[in-house]
């Protein structure tokens, strides 16, 4: 009974009080390191990235060409049927411009991050990546873009083998 309750429980403390040690606390940093298996589909995807190519998987039932590739079609719930290469160009589905880093601190140079629908895959098959060689105020929805790859000897089999996308 919200209007009937006089007082709500809780004891606020300020961030400064904690930082200055005025509130007793215990500190810890649990160790949590991982070596994730990329799996069947992503292993192939990463190997192809090392070769400078983007590969997709296909489902014969719904006809989709899917990036990132996967061993099962999540809509038909069956195994995918094959692999096919797609292009390293695409269009911007959506984008934003970040002025903060992962820990909420500010960064000097903004990062343009975008979901890029990949040409050759089914419509709407996007991947997340960054944009460079573009003024962040001039980026547009539907803009045509192309991948800029690392030189072959620097590629390791990672999504960052594509350095960024730039306007076509």
């Amino acid at each position: 009974m919200s209007a009937k309750i006089k007082e709500y429980p809780g004891t606020e403390v300020k961030s400064e009080e904690i930082k200055q040690g005025k509130v007793p606390t215990i500190r810890d940093r649990p160790k949590a390191k991982y070596l994730w298996s990329a799996g069947v589909a992503m292993s192939r995807f990463l190997n192809e990235l090392k070769k400078g190519k983007i590969i997709a998987s296909t489902c014969n039932k719904c006809g989709r060409i899917m990036v990132p590739p996967r061993v099962f079609c999540e809509q038909c719930f069956k195994s995918t049927d094959g692999w096919t290469y797609v292009k390293d160009t695409g269009t911007i589905n959506t984008y934003s411009v970040s002025f903060i880093a992962g820990d909420a601190s500010r960064i000097k140079e903004p990062i343009v991050v975008a979901v890029i629908d990949i040409d050759g895959a089914s419509p709407g098959m996007g991947i997340l990546h960054t944009m460079q060689e573009v003024d962040w105020k001039k980026v547009k929805f539907g803009m045509k873009v192309k991948a800029v790859w690392k030189p072959e000897k620097e590629r390791t089999g990672a999504i960052t083998d594509i350095k960024y996308f730039k306007p076509l």
Binding site: M1, S2, A3, K4, I5, Y8, P9, G10, T11, E12, V13, K14, S15, I18, V23, D28, P30, Y34, W36, A38, M42, L46, M66, V67, P68, E74, Q75, N93, T94, Y95, S96, V97, S98, F99, I100, A101, G102, D103, A104, S105, P110, I111, V113, A114, V115, G124, M125, G126, I127, L128, H129, T130, W136, F141, A158, I159, T160
Partner: protein, 390 residues
Amino acid sequence: MRMFGKKRVAVVGAGLTLFRRNMKETGREMCYEAAKMALDSAGLTLSDIDAVTYGSAPDAFDGIHMKGENMTDASGAWRKPFSRVYTGGGTGVFAMDSGWWHIASGLFDTCLVVGEEKMSSCYPHPAYAFTTIFDPIMDRPHGTTLIWIFSLEMHRYMHRHGIKKEQIALVSVKNKRNALDHPCAQLGAKITVEDVLNSEIMCWPVQRLDISPTSDGAAALVLASEDVAKKLTDNPVWIDGAGWCIDSTYWTNRDLYYPDYVEYAARMAYKMAKIKNPPKEIDVAEPYDPFDYKELHHMEGLLLCKKGEAPKLTAEGVTQRDGDLPINPSGGLLGVGNPIGAAGVMKCCEIFWQLRGEAGKRQVPGDPRTGVAQAWGDLMQYGSVIVMRR
């Protein structure tokens, strides 16, 4: 009125702690305070409770792995059937869905629903814990943050419907002002659209005053079957509809301008509640608003208006407390706070109090009888909906 399930379910009590950036209480102490308040308000003791369902989002915030187990006795679950539910931000309302099926299934007569989050334990900032929700191979290597994906979704929504920031900022202004009347609110304030547009750019188009805070807090509700509820009170609030739905993890393969999964969850709940015309039949709604554009996005997903129409309703004052369809009279997450697992439960508490006429200064006029609470979570995937009726 025959509902889906074996027994009709009512809400008979609610409890809430303050929501603040840092609380001295541990997560367990907060759970206890909310759960005890809910029990007291229902006139019940712990021995009257048959089962407990607890909802909390990533363990990474409280910094205690297997958090559910840690919170059991504080949630009143000592030696009782206990389950933890977790669907990211959808957790709070999904915990209500879970409490509902505990009783509707016929297995139990009473269930305590508890939501909690202590985000302040995570340093340097709770936002940092969010970086681990992303795919390690495709998304994390870019340094992806949570605000990135919200801003990508917001930008797509704005682009598809030609919506401007000024229209969206009205939601933040409304909710923070509503929160001034909420005794637990963290960020109730009188701000203007200009304040929002001049606030720090986080990740364009998201600015600081578009976002809800990180918070510590807990909330709880007591649910009871029809027989028990009628003995306890003359004023039970019935759960007439429950819905939940999740979309694919491949969020970059979806068009983010519209939350289909919220619509499917809403349809599931509305079908149970026999609601055919949501804008006409629903008197008050608490859609999930971690960002201001999300209230609009979810209003459309909840079928409270047509796609792209939510900004218009907001500008016309329809969604104010004294409007035709009050939205987030509590002040929402933007004003009250966002301890993730507890936030959705807080919204359910608000609908409970609104339908009973006990919301004090926040009360929407006109004797509301049907209310909807909704939460949203994971990688823009999950929708959970509850329809309550008096």
